[in-house]
Amino acid sequence: MPITRGFKGRQTETVGARDRVPPGQYVTRDFPVLTAGPTQRTPLESWSLSLQRGGELISRWSWIEFKALPQTERTTDIHCVTKWTKLDTQWRGVTFDDVVKAAGLSSAPNLYVMAHCDGGYTTNLPVVDLVDGKAMIATHFDDMPIPATHGGPARLLVPHLYFWKSAKWVRRLEFMEANTPGFWESMGYHIYGDPWREQRYTNDA
């Protein structure tokens, strides 16, 4: 592909951080907003998070109930399939493990989850990628409530996978038997999305 003389993109030098940047990614200090639709602005008094299986409700929390669950802080790197990587992002929320425990389950069923969000967005994940501290339902970024444009009041955070899996405006986690593709997966993005194996699109290894 022809190189444009003198053009350097916005990405910054990743001195000392090369091993934290997956292949094909560039470090950014911005936090770009990408969205499939208008910003969702659910009032807290209408918000709830549900855990579901086979059409049956396992458990549901209102905002006040959800905030009373154990809080976990996490600093992590995030990687968007559109090639930007942001280092050392700081989050606070409730881990998926604590949600499962609060629902009264001894453990999460070893299946898959479809995350359903306000506005209709969905994404699918194996349960094994949500447990053992790998994922949380985040409510705070940089110690502030997550703004609506970045998925507030609550979004999924699954930083070891491409960031389209960290679904904004999450409202319902549905256990499912099969790994049904969500919104972007059904259009050709990779069903799993491991940035370290550069699994961006369906046919990527």
Binding site: P2, T4, G6, F7, G9
Partner: protein, 259 residues
């Protein structure tokens, strides 16, 4: 059946492939806006209002794509002009305005967007509403109108920040001076020079009520500029009674760049 001769084809073959475009000339328009002329390798031609996608590739393979409206008049010339506003923290525009040299090449795809186009055979009165660099595709329309000696009533309502930010100011003045059927209303939003005779505020309903062509004339209306500007103006035009089918809009994204 109307057999009026057409001055240019209905549409131009649409190439979806990237082709190479070579910088042929520069022209400063304002302190932050520059016009760049490109000789495009396999260009077939364009209609007024269309745009191109451009793609830049860094040495490390990083690519950035943006869309820019074509400023030059509709036609088949293989030399096209893009007018670029330098966005201070932009990734692409500062490179285009300050980093390119004569003879450099970039990748380009187009012409794109038969939806937002105007043809000189169009007999409807023409109302153009521009916010800042949104004037670029509308200038292509006006240059086409001038080139083809179309004399249906035409008006440009053009909002700029300051006097020195008015893009194409002298050429627009020449159009208005030499053509009784065309008029311009300028409005400045951040202060005007002494002896300024244009308007001095953001485009609002009163301004549109005063300067927009009468709804009875069923004008063809084109609105272009930042998203919020276009949204507001389009809503106000509808409230004044203009038909939705007669209004075409082109919104720039938050950075002023179309993508």
């Amino acid at each position: 059946m109307n057999n009026a001769t057409r001055t240019m084809p209905d549409t131009f073959p649409l190439s979806g492939d990237w082709q190479s475009a070579t910088v042929a000339a520069f022209r400063d328009e304002t302190p932050s806006v520059k016009t760049i002329a490109f000789a495009v390798s396999q260009w077939t031609g364009h209609l007024a209002g269309q745009h191109v996608d451009i793609r830049l590739t860094g040495e490390d393979g990083y690519q950035a794509e943006r869309s820019y409206s074509i400023a030059s008049p509709g036609g088949t010339a293989a030399l096209i002009e893009l007018t670029v506003e330098r966005i201070s923290d932009g990734e692409v525009s500062p490179f285009l305005t300050d980093g390119l040299a004569l003879g450099d090449t970039i990748e380009l795809r187009g012409p794109i967007g038969g939806y937002f186009t105007w043809k000189p055979e169009n007999p409807s009165p023409l109302l153009l509403v521009a916010g800042g660099s949104g004037v670029v595709p509308l200038m292509s329309i006006l240059r086409t109108r001038n080139k083809c000696a179309n004399r249906v009533p035409g008006r440009l309502l053009y909002s700029s920040r300051r006097f020195e930010d008015i893009i194409y100011r002298e050429e627009l003045d020449r159009f208005a001076a030499s053509d009784n059927s065309f008029s311009i209303v300028h409005t400045l939003t951040r202060g005007a020079p002494t002896a300024w005779r244009g308007e001095t505020r953001r485009v609002d309903t009163q301004m549109l009520a005063k300067y927009a062509l009468p709804t009875a004339q069923k004008p063809r209306i084109f609105v272009c500029g930042p998203t919020l500007f276009v949204e507001t103006v389009a809503d106000q035009l509808l409230a004044l009674g203009h038909q939705e089918t007669g209004i075409k809009t082109e919104r720039f994204g938050p950075t002023g760049e179309k993508r």
